[in-house]
Symmetry: C2
Subunit: 227 residues, 2 copies
Amino acid sequence: RLSKNFKHHYSNTILPLGDDCASYSASSSKNQLVSTDALVENIHFKLSTISAEQLGKKSIAVNISDIVAMGGTPTRILITLGISKKISSSFLDQLYKGIHKTCELYDIELFGGDTVSSPNCFFINVTIIGETKSGKLFTRKGAKKGDLIFTTGTLGDSSLGLNIQSGKKWKCSAKSKKYLLKKHLTPIPRLKESQLLVRSTCKINSMIDISDGLVQDLHHICKQSGT
Amino acid sequence: RLSKNFKHHYSNTILPLGDDCASYSASSSKNQLVSTDALVENIHFKLSTISAEQLGKKSIAVNISDIVAMGGTPTRILITLGISKKISSSFLDQLYKGIHKTCELYDIELFGGDTVSSPNCFFINVTIIGETKSGKLFTRKGAKKGDLIFTTGTLGDSSLGLNIQSGKKWKCSAKSKKYLLKKHLTPIPRLKESQLLVRSTCKINSMIDISDGLVQDLHHICKQSGT
């Protein structure tokens, strides 16, 4: 609603805001992708249930997911930290340890940021930049009637992990609980799978990062594709 | 300190983090610039002393300043809003009115964002993207002994405006007070001046966005230039 008055688009804009990322062409062979996501204490996480290192990893992973959901490769990140009084320097060291590990794993360059005070709650905002080859951008728009639907991973794990973390009763072994919690706390972006699809001869019409759940996110694809 | 372990740089990185912006080359003729800045309620502004529209304008203006400080032209922004309970929808409308006006004035495309809840304080994080022609990037590094120093605008106005806003006594006319307050609340990024310098035949070695004050920011140039 708030963005409805913004009608200015550059001629090299490939995809305006409204998908997992927006994209523009900076050369004839490559598209640039950008996306931004914030995690706020007591809204998206509680410091009592996630470690600083896990939070660092997760904050980058959810942003990587937005890039790979469009067939892109993540390249650079900018990090804003809103630091409240109770945050210790060892917490920040551990947070950056997690960020660093994830960046190393996915070949991402730390490219900027801002560190500010925040009166009450800690927050972290990550802007991620990535790229795709021209013509290899998979959006929410392209789906056609009759398309087959594929998913990666085992859907629902993270949601169950959240339930377990919130103390909701769920009958399963301690081992399963640990597994589901890990799926919630340290999600794995599907870079390998995405790059395999980009290189494959499969005719892919549309892709999306599932975060709300299969049904809701499939609805996003259907709505934006007009199917 | 926190970023010291991050040593991965892509070969097309022109300028890593540490200046007003970081920069990478996405084509042979142009460099991409990126920067991010956050404004947090009760740290950077008080809702009792700045209007929503002014805040919207200022949040974009301070980011534009980072781009033009390097000789760049701003092109796109991504906005994250952390919305606390007391923020009304009319406040958001006014905020976006200010953002929209500034974007129109400087030809900037709204290119993405995230809207999240924030338990106590409102915050706004802006990531800005811009570009320069290759070879036309002015950093904090290039200064040489004997360089002449030029500034734009009248230094100290914004600082005096902040003093007046904070209720500190300052003998001046009501008209001057209004003028100084405006300089503090709605800063003007120096796009025209920057583009004039880029196109000129002046030999420019270094540029910086003054925010801490002339002496402190000149110190940044000296330190990074080794002069």
